[in-house]
Every structure is written in structure tokens, then in C-alpha cells.
Subunit: 335 residues, 2 copies
């Protein structure tokens, strides 16, 4: 049964991906309403061979809408999700606005689909770097109980939007051509041929010295796994990659689990693709994951510094599984 | 008192840096002998305002030489260091050939200068990623005893030589201009706008699933700190950066030590520059460290997943402190 769908933030990196995935997965769309800021209103976007005109987001935008996909930042979600709910829509929200609210489910369909049913009009989509980590770790947590996670990320600039991709490309070209005086608008430091240990780039650090991205990986992981006893520490880093986040993950488990057992477990895990054949230089790469649905896992090896430890290398498309795909998977389960 | 100095591998990335640093530190060079493969023989290189002709390396190259700086790979070192010693030279070797030999000191002058005196003709220079880590961690180890280290690296392509820099730049330009079919000679996968969890790029993985670079960080750290009880696990990753390695380091200490105490300790530590003012978006960056002698440390914060844990972000110039500078500092202490 087809339903009316609204996309809030349609012209952004995730918004564009929403349209591609709704189309390719044949999501049962009856009417599609594309919403964005006044500045983007009037723009045309293509969906299933037809042009759609982007409309300005207002509190009246949600009449008749059944599913509203939000990806326009936390303040837009805070303001407009209540109107969408009042209009009778169920919202899947990509922002951090409601993620840690007790009465809002935070869902990765491969991990905690059962939480969807508990919603009161809004289901939160987790942070991109958290999603790919929990997809890879859930089967290990079930088998051996994860006590502690130490994660360092290698995150693509697309996580900061289309303007960030443009800035990386232009700054890179400027450096290669030997020009000086490139003017940055977005990143506080050079991102071309450099790595920045600050995500998001425009946010203040918290009093404990961590970034909000790092603390999201801590708190969201516990909520999605439904286990507050899992201890997490994170360092999140922007690298000059266009798309797909890589993560170096170290875990300590309660029960002993071998690298071979982890590999076997993950080879049948939902949403996971094991890419782990070092002899043939096969391991997950951003270039491999881009445009793909799966979370790629490789470099699976026992941590020799612990009795019960495993190291893994996890890569996934941050715009796809890290955002648009995960939200649409939630919407599919809602229907 | 000036001495005769030979540089083996003079035309490489580290060789070029040797000449710059010998000159800028006014190392007391009497005669300078530049040695390289037959292919590079005849090339001219400038030192202190004079041109020197590169000579072919042979077993007779070391007559009259007092200090021989080797940076031409492990197999060249294994073959020619014995001739240099037989000629009466003391060798400082940048390769991995002798690092783990029991009778060869492995030295970072800020950490274990006392080991230099134990040499029998050769002193090994550690791996670049290990050097910057132990410079940052030694003061913490002395104050609070480090029990375990989890490190993930973000390593520049210059660690793979001048050809790797060229390949990254050419591949990047090719991708930006939309050309297809770029032919790689060095890296097994795209390095432009990508990250590769394999260092070195041309080496087989070990039976335990780790790379040789990762295991060097484990074994060399213990040897330099003179403490086999320190447990280390590493994931080493190549990023599309020209120069300077970044490292995300997580440590567990025996004694409780606060982030403020670590910051204070490191602010007076030899060879360390604390760059840690998040409110002003100040943290170590590859662009900040390049061409500098210091190991930059920032993002110092308590690991809330442990009773006694600290996270740090450590960046240093891999060609300079990670190779040429460290070797010349050893040579200075030898004189």
C-alpha cells in the first residue's frame, strides 16, 4: 500500500541519496513532497523519471503525509517534527535532536528493530559513525559480550555536507597547482592532504575535552545495544576522503572469541560484508564501500595485548548506510 | 672536532633531509661522502653551499669515515653496515635490519640516550611511528606507569618514499580532472581520497594478521622504554597526506593521572610541544608539524571508559623526527 512521503532537507547530500534509495528499493511512494529552506525552494529534482519541485518547509507542509524523512539538522527537526507528528506523520529523523530522549527509539534495523514499535511519532536515526560500528559489533556482543570499545575514526568530508566536498576538492586543486591563499569557508584548518581531529568542525569541544561526535559514539552505542554496561571511548577524525567512513575498532570481550570465530559470525550477519583476505590485499576501503549498502569488515585479528581482545577495520558509506539507507530501512519496517 | 660522514641512500626522501639537518644543526662535518645505488651515482646534491657528487655504494665506500648514516632499506643495511664497521665507522641505521638484535641499541635520544654507549658499531633508529609515540609517552610512563597502549595511526605517504608522494599527487590530479585509468606503480589500491589499512604497502601480512609496521610498534616500544611489561596493540593506516604522521593513542596507566597532570608533564618534556587549546581549535595537525623538530601532542583527555586512562593525539614530521633528525641526534650524542 503506497503512502505519502515527505523529505525534509531534500537538496542536501543525504536528501539526494534519499531519492536514489527510495527509487532503487521501490519504496511504495504515493505522493512525494520535497521540502527545504526558502533558498532552495523552486529547485527541481528527479525521482522515478519525473521532475519534482522543491517546496519551502513550513508548519503546514505535512498535511496528508504518512512518513516524513528529516535530514536538515537538529534545529530544523526540533522545530518541525512536532508539526509533522501533529499532522499524523511518523518521522524518521537523521539529526541528533531526539536521539537520546528516553521515549524516542534510536534504531539500526539490523541491531534493534524491536525498538521501532515503541515510537510516539518519531524514530531517531543514529549518527553515521555509530551505525556502522554497531552493525559490525552486535553479533560479537551477542556471542561474547563486549566490555569495552576503543574506536578511532577516519571520516569522509561528505559527513559535513555537499559544501565540504566542494571545499576539499577546490582546496586540493589549489594546492596541487601551487596557488596560495585558498579561502576556506567551512573547515577551520586545511583539510586537503591533512587530517583534522575535530568533528563536527564548527562545534565547541565539551568540558571533558571530547567533541560531540565522540560522545555520540559513546551514548548512542549503549542505547542501540540496549546495554549501559558497554564502555566506549572514541577519537573522531576527519580525513581527506569524499565518501565512506573507516574505523579502527578495538574491543575487549568477556568471553574469549577467536579471530576465526568472529570472521565466521560476521560472514552471516545481517548488513555485513566480510572483506578480509590479507594474502590478496583485500580489506575494507572507502572506495569499496561507496555506493554500497553493506558495512564492510576486515583486518579481523586477535589483540595480543589482552586475553580477550579483537581488532577490526570497519568501512561503510556514511551517506548511505550511515544516513539515508538506514532511515529508509526504518521506514520500511514501519509500513 | 669535525668528522668524516657518509650518507647511504643520499638521494631518497630521508637522505635529502639528512643534508638539510646536518647543515642547519651545524653538525661538525669534515668530509661528506654521499652514497647511493649505481643508478643515482653521478647525481649532484648541495650541502653548505657546495655541490657534492653522489658515489656508488661499494664495500670500499667507508674508508676514513667516522659516522655512517644509513637510510636505504634493510637489505642494503644488512649487506653494507658490516663493511662500514670494519672500516672503523659507527653506523646509525634507519632500517629495521638490526633494531631487535639484542646487542644493538634502539635509541630515541629523549627517551633512552643511555643505551647509545652499549653499541658495537651500529645503533638502530626506530620506526617513525614508534619514535613519535614514545617521545610523547615516556614522561607519562615515568609518572604513572603505562600498562597498555591502543594506537591507530594516520600515516603520510612520504613514509613510503619520494615515489609515493609523486603517486599520491598524480593520482589526485587524475581523479580531480575526471580522467580514468591512472596507473599505480606503488600502492595496491587508490590512495588519493582513500585510506589504506596496510603499511608497508608491498609487504605480506604476518600469520597473526598484523602488518610488520604494526608489530614494530609493539616490539620497538617495549625495547626503547626498556619495559617488556607494557602491552601494545596497533592498527597502522596510510592516509592521503604528504608528510607528518598523526596518531590516536589510548593508554591505561597503573596510577591515576589526570589530563591536566599529563598536559603539565608534557609541557616541559624534551622534544615535545603541547598544542592543546580546543576552545581555539588548536590541536596537532600534519600541516603544523611538517618541517618542525618537535612531537606535537594535543586532545589530551581522560578516557571515561577506564579508571586510569588517557587519550592523546600525537603528530610529528615522519621524515624529520621520525627518521633523519632522530638519527642525527644520535650521531651528535656519539661525538
Amino acid at each position: 500500500m503506497a503512502v505519502n512521503v515527505a523529505v525534509v532537507g531534500a537538496t542536501g547530500a543525504v536528501g539526494e541519496e534519499f531519492l536514489r534509495i527510495l527509487e532503487s528499493r521501490k519504496f511504495p511512494v504515493k505522493e512525494l513532497r520535497l521540502l527545504a529552506s526558502k533558498r532552495s525552494a523552486g529547485k527541481k529534482m528527479r525521482f522515478c523519471g519525473r521532475d519534482y519541485t522543491v517546496q519551502e518547509l513550513t508548519k503546514h507542509s505535512f498535511e496528508g503525509i504518512k512518513i516524513a524523512l528529516f535530514s536538515a539538522g537538529a534545529s530544523i527537526s526540533r522545530e518541525y517534527v512536532p508539526y509533522a507528528i501533529a499532522s499524523g506523520a511518523v518521522c524518521v529523523d537523521n539529526s541528533s535532536a531526539f536521539r537520546m530522549d528516553d521515549d524516542v527509539p534510536l534504531v539500526v534495523p539490523e541491531v534493534n528493530p524491536q525498538d521501532i514499535a515503541k515510537h510516539h511519532g518519531v524514530i531517531a536515526n543514529p549518527n553515521c559513525s555509530t551505525i556502522q560500528m554497531v552493525v559490525a559489533l552486535k553479533p560479537i556482543h551477542d556471542a561474547a559480550r563486549i566490555k569495552r570499545i576503543v574506536v578511532s575514526t577516519y571520516q569522509a568530508v561528505s559527513g559535513a555536507g555537499l559544501k565540504a566536498i566542494d571545499e576539499l576538492q577546490k582546496e586540493t586543486a589549489s594546492i596541487l597547482s601551487g596557488q596560495e591563499g585558498f579561502r576556506r569557508n567551512l573547515f577551520p584548518h586545511q583539510i586537503a592532504f591533512n587530517v583534522l581531529p575535530q568533528i563536527p568542525q564548527n562545534n565547541a569541544f565539551l568540558p571533558n575535552g571530547y567533541t560531540s561526535e565522540e560522545m555520540k559514539m559513546v551514548s548512542e552505542t549503549k542505547k542501540i545495544l540496549g546495554d549501559n554496561s558497554v564502555r566506549v571511548t572514541a577519537t573522531t577524525v576527519r580525513v581527506p576522503v569524499i565518501r565512506s567512513h573507516s574505523e579502527s575498532i578495538n574491543i575487549e570481550t568477556e568471553k574469549k572469541i577467536s579471530a576465526a570465530a568472529v570472521k565466521k559470525l560476521l560472514s552471516t550477519a545481517p548488513g555485513v560484508q566480510v572483506a578480509d583476505d590479507p594474502a590478496n590485499q583485500l580489506y575494507p576501503l572507502a572506495t569499496m564501500a561507496t555506493g554500497r549498502d553493506e558495512v564492510f569488515v576486515g583486518r579481523i585479528r586477535e589483540d595480543e595485548s589482552l586475553d580477550h581482545g579483537i581488532n577490526l577495520w570497519v568501512v561503510s558509506d556514511n551517506v548511505r548506510k550511515g544516513a539515508a539507507l538506514n532511515a529508509i530501512q526504518i521506514a520500511e519496517k514501519l509500513l
